[in-house]
């Protein structure tokens, strides 16, 4: 039973990694940039949720919806103001920009909300669900359900909506997308919005289980490892990579000496790079220039 318990808490932690990884992959696939501030965007989402729910006293669900909208807007603005002027600049410059953006967001969050850890007030705090011998915190149930719902919505969006297909088209062949009249730049803004929205959602989900402070965005690095394990460039891969990292971390925490739990994500990454460098789902193809 202990194994099952670990597995479940690993999965719920992995969902958060997976969602952040999803944000990495979305932006990378569409724009070929890696947004290293993805974890900090998640942190921002958690703080925005705190503002809406704790400080403004909105009902939880409304607070979350408002958070998602604000985060979508933040993502679009980041793309419009910071990233778009960088089109045509070397990749390295863009990469440094997103790392700098991470620092900026951390400092900003510290200045606005303070560096003291906070907790998001949720209607389901402290409740547990008992399934036989397995005890599940409602927080974890919500994380898992939320991830499943979000992934389903994303799947439907990419599969069936005009905009979703256009996003795929723009990431598969940018020039051809331009030639058929898809406003590629606007699509990039929307991809950033979507990615920030997903990160914000991850922030809301993880807020009840891990305290919110300006440094919580560093899980982004583990999520980055998860994205690579999944095969950077595959959306299901990102989620699966996240789950794998989450589960391995839990088991490493119990069965290996102290400290291994924190590095297990990177060990997993190294092992993956050695045995299957293209990741679990290798949808990466040679890009035509």
């Amino acid at each position: 039973m202990e194994v099952l318990q670990l597995l479940i808490s690993g999965i719920s932690q992995g969902c958060v990694y997976g969602l952040i990884a999803l944000g990495f992959v979305l932006i990378y696939k569409a724009t070929e940039m890696v947004n290293f501030a993805q974890g900090d965007v998640m942190m921002l989402g958690a703080f925005v949720a705190v503002s809406f729910v704790n400080l403004l006293d909105l009902p939880f669900v409304w607070g979350v919806l408002a958070t998602l909208m604000v985060m979508g807007l933040v993502g679009a603005l980041l793309e419009r103001l910071l990233l778009r002027p960088m089109i045509g600049e070397p990749h390295f410059a863009v990469l440094m920009l997103t790392i700098g953006l991470g620092f900026l967001l951390r400092a900003l969050a510290g200045a606005i909300w303070g560096n003291e850890p906070r907790a998001l007030e949720t209607p389901y705090a402290g409740e547990v669900l008992r399934l036989g011998a397995v005890v599940l915190g409602y927080e974890n149930v919500v994380i898992m359900l939320g991830t499943v719902v979000l992934c389903t919505l994303l799947f439907l969006f990419f599969r069936f909506t005009r905009l979703g297909i256009a996003m795929q088209a723009a990431s598969q062949n940018q020039l051809a997308a331009y030639y058929v009249g898809i406003p590629v730049k606007r699509i990039y803004s929307l991809v950033w919005a979507l990615s920030a929205l997903i990160a914000g959602f991850a922030g809301v989900l993880t807020a009840p289980v891990s305290l919110i402070d300006p440094l919580m965005g560093f899980v982004g690095i583990k999520a980055f490892a998860a994205a690579i394990v999944g095969g950077f460039g595959s959306l299901p891969g990102a989620i699966l990579g996240g789950l794998l990292v989450g589960v391995v971390e839990q088991f490493a925490g119990l069965y290996l000496p102290t400290g291994f739990s924190d590095v297990s994500a990177y060990v997993l990454l190294l092992v993956m790079l050695m045995i299957r460098p293209q990741g679990l789902f290798a949808t990466m193809q040679r890009k035509k220039v």
């Binding site: 005009r162 997308a177 331009y178 030639y179 949808t283």
Partner: protein
Amino acid sequence: MGNLLELQNIETYYGPIMAIRGVSMDVPEGKVVSVLGANGAGKTTVLKTISGAMDPQKGTVTFKGERIDARDPDWVARRGIAHVPEGREVFPFLSVEDNLRMGAFSRRDSEVSQDIELVYEYFPVLKEYRGNQAEYLSGGQQQMLAIGRALMLRPELMLLDEPSLGLSPRLVHDIAEIVVRLNREQSVTMLLVEQNAKMALDIGDYGYVMELGRIVMEDTCERLREATDVQEFYLGMKDEGVRGRRRWKQRKTWR
């Protein structure tokens, strides 16, 4: 009929390299205009400059009396210019039908499905593979898909960049036939860039010959076919044997 598209003294650079050195060109409405030239003559760059993928340093591009240079390619596409790029460039992981649907991205009307059927009439083979991912199509089928996708825009002007590239002679013939039919039946004006001079001159009304970023000859395609230079350099109709004068040493340019 007037000119649908006019290029005036275009100069386009790749970084420091001047690819187009002052090109002026007219594309009359309803016609097929062919552009011939060897590799690196700047034919593709002319098309890219028209569709907005590259901006000219100097000169103007006018479409239906409106300046379209220095605009984004998606804006130009929405004006009614469909660019079929070299090397097909389909969306590899989308289905054939989604590729076509994306061709109509900028359209708001309800006749998209009808137009997909129209494309299937021109290219029955695409209907057969409508649910398949585009990357699994053969080269010729991908070319058909790229043309079909461009047709979904309901363009007034279609820019065709080497549609015969890498296709068998029979497929080249098929594609040429389709281009002529689209021109006549859908009244799409065509600007065709080709290395396959025979095909380009056969289906074109008017032709330009480019070399090293300049236009060195222009005339009706009929007269271009007769011109000795064109026959010699592009149609390979020189009478002398291989042991004759090394023709490329004799005359490399018209200048």
